[in-house]
Every structure is written in C-alpha cells, then in structure tokens.
C-alpha cells in the first residue's frame, strides 16, 4: 500500500498554520499551567527560526481529550492539542498541563511533531516526564540517546530542546504501518 508522501512546510507556512492562541492549551493564568518550551537546533547548533511544533497530550487525569475548539479556545476546554512556531532564536513555548498516566505502568509523555523549512517530512518524537519508572522505549536506548526524549523539570514547567542533527540528535520515531 502506498501512502501519500509528505513534503516540507517550506518558508511560508506562517500563512497557513499558526493561529492566535495556538500555543495556549490553557491560559497562562490557569492555576496548574506549566510552560513546555525549548529550542530547535540544526546540525551546527544554530536555532531553527522557521519550524512548527505541535503537541498532543492527555489531560492530568490521563484521559485522551476528545473535545473540539482548539482554534477558538474558550479557556475551559482542554483539547490536548497545540501548535507553536519558533521565534528568531529557534525557541518555542506552550502553556499546558502536566499529562497524567494513560496506561497503568507507563510513564506519561507529550507527543511532539516537528515541521520546518528544509525538513522534507514531519518528524515524530516524545517528551517524557522525568521519573524513575521503567519504560520500554527509554530503557532500550543508550543513555545519551535516551536523555533526548526526557524533558527537564523547571520551577514553572518543562524544558524540551529538539536537535534535528548532530551532537545530542533527538531520537525521532516511526510507527508500524507507515511507509518509510
């Protein structure tokens, strides 16, 4: 079976993808709001100023959100999905909630999709919450690689840098039933 191939978002995605409040899964004033943020780096360690990051996550109770309204957020419905573009420094940020456990015994993560000019297809990765529980994907990776999938806890949130290439290159994922 052949599936439609991807193509780069190109340099003009700002016309079609970003929208007001895209990065605010909850208002920053929400009592449980955390900032998930980081920088996207290229193979020479420079920030990538023209990339788009999307996140998709469970709510704090571990439930997968099924509500609509991401494009016109009402400030109360947690849709679990957001989109942010990087700034001139390659920095992105979201205001969101800490995801809960979706399946017993698994460590919570935020699913992340990366798009950029110069990136011919989207990339998938996971931003895991820091923790000690065993996790099959993480435990199967060498330590240096594993760390690229684990967000760093900060006072008011989580830091998750993404390295497209080179030193500290982020582990990107593929799934069964995708053409490669």
């Amino acid at each position: 079976m052949t599936f439609a191939p991807g193509q780069t978002v190109g340099p003009f995605f700002h016309l079609g993808l970003p929208f007001e409040g895209g990065n605010l899964l909850v208002p920053t004033a929400h009592p449980d709001a955390v900032r998930l943020h980081g920088r996207v780096f290229d193979g020479e360690g420079a920030g990538v100023p023209d990339s788009v990051i999307e996140i998709w996550q469970a709510d704090p109770s571990g439930r997968v959100p099924r509500g609509t309204g991401s494009f016109h957020r009402d400030g109360f419905t947690f849709t679990g999905w957001g989109r942010a573009q990087t700034d001139g420094d390659g920095h992105y940020w979201f205001s969101t909630l800490i995801p809960g456990v979706t399946e017993p015994g698994r460590r919570p993560f935020i699913a992340v999709t990366v798009f950029a000019r110069g990136l011919t297809d989207r990339l998938f990765t996971r931003a895991y919450l820091p923790g000690d529980e065993p996790e099959a994907l993480l435990d199967g990776l060498e330590p240096g690689r594993r760390d690229t999938l684990i967000a760093t806890r900060e006072e008011r949130g989580l830091l998750f840098d993404i390295h497209l290439q080179g030193e500290g290159e982020t582990v990107f994922l593929s799934y069964p039933r995708q053409a490669r």
């Binding site: 191939p5 995605f13 016309l15 193979g43 011919t120 989207r122 290439q165």
Partner: protein, 258 residues
C-alpha cells in the same frame, strides 16, 4: 523593476562557484530511486535540508496512549466560509478560479470523517502573502491564500480557490517551484499526521524541482499530482481538479474504538 531584476540575475550568474540548474539536475539524477515511497530526509539537492535532517534511523515504536488518537476539530473550529479562498477580501481575486476536491482515506481504505484540512498557497502570480516573499510579482489585495475545512462523513474535502503560479526561490540560480498548494491533514490516529503539497498535471518544472524530487520513487511522487476533472468544471465559472489522499494505516482495535 523587470530590468533591475534581470541585472541582478546577471550579476549572480557571473559569480564563481554558484550552483546552476545543471548541477542540481546531476545531483537529482544520482539520487533517483535511492529512497522509499516517502521523501528522503537527507536530500542535498534541496540545500536547506543539509543541516536539518536527522542522521540516525528513526526508532520504530508501537504507538500508545494519545498516539492512538488524533486531536478533534469541529464546527467550533472552522467556519464553512473558510473553504472558499476567493471570498475573503472585498473583491474578486485575479487568476484562474478553480475547485479542488477529493476524498481522504486511511491506509485501510476507510474515509477520514470530520477531520481538519488546512491549505496555503501563492496567488496567481506566484507571490505569497508573506513578508519573506519579496520577489517582483504583484500581491493581489483580494487574495490571501489560506483556507480550512472539515471533511464530510464520506471523507470528502473541497476548496474553491485560484490556481497558484510558479514561484522563484534561491536554492540555486534560476530555481523555480512548480505550482503547488500546501496541504496539512490529520487522520484518526496521531501517527497519520501529514503535511504535503499538491501539484498540477503536466508541470514542466517537475524534473527540475529538488523538493518534488526528494521523493525519489516516481509512483509515490505522482500521488501528489491532482487530475483535471471536467465533471467538476462549472460552465463559465471555474475549472475542477480532483485530488484523493491516502493516509497511513491506523492502529486502534475495534475495542478501543468503543
């Protein structure tokens, strides 16, 4: 303006070590058939990819939790009028009015219902409504070039728009992109997320374009080319193009569906 641009082009090509279309063609030829049905991430003829592609293989993993589901969009997100890119401004945009429609199915042939489709594109002159596009082609005050819609119960989407023009870029000297519309799609699983570009049949720039050719399998590449469909054409009003899209396979079991 035209004379000034010609001069600029002349100055460019007189500089030593510039990359010409012939250089890019050679590189494209060398990589033909070297990748699978998806674009090569490492594709040097597309110069911006050189420092932006991962060098390690992607890690195969079974989707779990949220990855088995896609975000939901609905009438709260998208207004019906957003599917018509010709009515967003005070007047009628210039160019060839067209409809593009098609059916989105998953890898098992099931229609992708009630899901979000986003598009963006250049105007009829090949100019984007974007600060970074400053090439000497006119903006059209009546055409922005971005739209959204939701698929119906049958997985069908439809947009009314203007046929975009080809546009020049600076990958190499005299680089031109074939006319295209950017499409952003969601499936029923997170893993089906797709951003791609739709092209028009018979474009003379296909062979010269390193972005289109980053998909090195010709059969896969052709999946991105819409077909002209006279049945969709409306007398004295607009031309019709059909483009069906197949996303990858899903992972949820019927039990999880309930």
């Amino acid at each position: 303006m035209e004379a000034k641009y010609r001069l600029a082009t002349f100055a460019w090509s007189s500089v030593a070590n510039v990359t010409t279309q012939a250089d890019i063609n050679r590189e494209i030829d060398q990589l033909r058939g070297s990748g699978g049905p998806q674009p090569r991430l490492d594709y040097p003829p597309y110069r911006s990819s050189v420092l932006r592609h991962p060098t390690r293989d992607r890690q195969l993993v079974d989707p779990e939790g949220v990855e088995l589901w896609a975000p939901c969009f609905g009438a709260a997100d998208v207004d019906d009028a957003e599917a018509d890119l010709t009515i967003q401004r005070a007047g009628e945009p210039l160019g060839e009015r067209m409809v593009v429609t098609g059916r989105i199915t998953d890898g098992d042939g099931r229609p992708v219902r009630d899901q979000l489709v986003e598009i963006w594109q250049a105007n009829a002159s090949g100019r984007y409504w974007h600060q970074r596009d400053q090439h000497p082609a006119p903006l059209d005050p009546n055409f922005v070039g971005a739209g959204r819609c939701l698929t119906g119960a049958d997985g069908v989407y439809s947009f009314q728009t203007i046929k975009p023009g080809a546009y020049p870029w600076r990958n190499h000297v005299n680089a031109w992109r074939p006319a295209h519309i950017h499409f952003s799609l969601f499936g029923t699983d997170f893993t089906q997320r797709l951003v791609t570009q739709m092209y028009f049949p018979g474009d003379p720039l296909f062979d010269l374009d390193p972005i289109y050719q980053s998909i090195t399998d010709p059969k896969a590449r052709e999946m991105l080319v819409a077909s002209y469909d006279h049945e969709l054409t409306t007398p004295e009003y607009r031309l019709g193009y059909r483009w069906d899209i197949v996303l990858s396979g899903t992972h949820r079991t019927p039990l999880e569906e309930q």
